[in-house]
């Protein structure tokens, strides 16, 4: 159940989210309505890029921390299965997410 339990929750969660989507209207397009909120200013800002060095370090901190946690699991485990699973699954997810943050956010290392 260690794997099946979380998987069951994710499946149920996405299923309910899709069902809930039928209640409200979904719209997308171009024009003032679909521009990001500008606080009443007329000039619409381009997609913002966050180039702060501190943000880069913070994003890297997240990756290192998540890996440290995953590695720490291996010290308590009698077999290699769960540490390897956690490293592959958790580490992969964190890496992909952080990579996405950096690419979309326009971060430069």
């Amino acid at each position: 159940m260690v794997i099946a339990g979380p998987l069951l929750i994710i499946i149920a969660d996405i299923f309910i989210y899709q069902i809930a989507g039928r209640f409200g209207k979904r719209t997308s397009g171009k024009g003032a309505k679909y521009q990001p909120f500008t606080g009443g200013e007329e000039d619409v800002a381009p997609r913002g890029l966050y180039r702060s060095e501190l943000f880069v370090f913070a994003a890297l901190f997240m990756v290192v921390e998540a890996f440290a946690l995953l590695l720490a699991g291996s010290f308590a485990s009698p077999t290699n299965f769960y540490p390897l699973l956690f490293l592959a699954g958790g580490g992969g997810v964190v890496l992909i997410v952080t990579w996405w943050l950096m690419i979309v956010g326009g971060l430069k290392l």
């Binding site: 159940m1 260690v2 339990g5 979380p6 069951l8 929750i9 994710i10 149920a12 969660d13 996405i14 989210y17 809930a20 989507g21 209640f23 409200g24 209207k25 979904r26 719209t27 997308s28 397009g29 309505k33 679909y34 521009q35 990001p36 909120f37 606080g39 800002a45 381009p46 997609r47 913002g48 890029l49 966050y50 702060s52 501190l54 943000f55 370090f57 913070a58 994003a59 901190f61 997240m62 921390e65 998540a66 946690l69 995953l70 720490a72 699991g73 308590a76 485990s77 009698p78 769960y82 956690f86 958790g90 997810v93 964190v94 997410v97 952080t98 996405w100 943050l101 979309v104 956010g105």
Partner: protein
């Protein structure tokens, strides 16, 4: 015949576990606790500010958070032109999944949870890290200027509170010599860890306030400064889900505090019958859960927001050393 009976028993067991995970004492139970926490928080805040708070939906307005959730779900869902479509649309349910998965590791009806693992505390820590990362990702995906400023704040604040949060969570593990939540609960049969590690409990509550983005650490969602923070561009169903996730995280972190420091559902047992025992454990758990929840929303109502540099300085210069001192004391005394 024997095979059929075995198969039916196996199916019944699987069905029971599915009900436990999705309904009680798993996800749905914690979602309702989150809704009640939301209502209690608003009521407490209103009373402390000389207002009445929610009164219309349900008795004493208790169903107001539920009404708000369904109202938001039925509203128009706008996809901003500059948003990253995939993350913007799929992110909210994944953000919700993090605390939702955490709930199945919390012991509610006895010393054992629905899912037990020998190092599930680390899994819980990973869930907390993923939750913050998901929030940052959602803010970034929406592409608005306020969202991006808020995402920066969120990530910087995260670097401040995450280390003390981890140290505070490791302390009970060290006391119990176990990384399993069930093991930590079992080790508190005689004395709760709040008595042995009070500083860690305080550190955990402070870090939980930051994780939940509650005052004085509501910097990433500061309404008077950056509109709705990283949630500014969200509307309709995604916003409903994000708000629900925040309520669920509230219940989950309070439950984690109960599990790690207040003996989980353990308490004096007067019955031999397992059903009555479970009922008693459940009552103990809920009473402790509301005590921790009430502590958190009293603090959040009483304090004003700090600046991001003040928050990070507070965490690095005071809260982190305090958590390490508590850890050092426990290691030196060999508890």
């Amino acid at each position: 015949m024997v095979d059929d009976r075995g198969r039916i028993e196996a199916l019944e067991m699987i069905w029971t576990q599915i009900v436990e995970i999705l309904i009680f004492p798993g996800l749905t139970f914690f979602v309702w606790i989150g809704f009640i926490f939301d209502w209690l928080e608003r009521k407490t805040q209103a009373r402390m500010q000389g207002r009445r708070g929610p009164i219309l939906a349900g008795p004493f307005g208790i169903l107001q958070p539920v009404a708000d959730f369904f109202k938001l779900i039925s509203k128009e869902e706008i996809l901003p032109e500059v948003a990253d479509r995939f993350v913007f649309q799929l992110g909210p349910p994944l953000f919700f999944a993090a605390p939702a998965i955490g709930t199945i590791f919390i012991p509610v009806l006895g010393p054992n949870a629905i899912v037990n693992n020998e190092f599930d505390l680390l899994f819980v820590l990973f869930i907390l890290a993923f939750s913050a990362l998901m929030a940052a990702m959602l803010g970034y995906a929406s592409g608005g200027r306020w969202s991006i400023i808020a995402t920066g704040r969120l990530v910087v604040q995260y670097t401040g509170y995450e280390i003390p949060l981890i140290v505070a969570l490791v302390t009970p593990a060290l006391l119990a010599r176990s990384l399993s939540l069930a093991g930590i609960v079992a080790a508190q049969e005689k004395v709760w860890f709040i008595a042995l590690a009070p500083i860690s409990f305080i550190v955990f509550i402070v870090a939980a306030l930051a994780e939940l983005e509650k005052p004085p650490f509501d910097i990433p969602t500061a309404k008077t400064e950056i509109v709705g923070g990283w949630m500014t561009e969200f509307s309709g169903r995604p916003l409903a889900y994000i708000k629900l996730t925040k309520d669920l995280s509230y219940a989950f972190l309070s439950a984690l505090a109960v599990t790690l420091f207040l003996g989980g559902p353990l308490g004096p047992v007067f019955f031999v019958d397992p059903i009555l025992q479970s009922l008693l454990y459940f009552i103990y758990f809920v009473v402790k859960l509301f005590a921790v929840g009430f502590l958190i929303f009293t603090i959040r109502t009483a304090l004003a927001r700090v600046k991001i540099n003040q928050a990070v300085r507070l965490f690095w210069m005071l809260i982190t050393p305090l958590s390490l001192i508590q850890l050092g004391i426990i290691m030196l005394l060999g508890w």
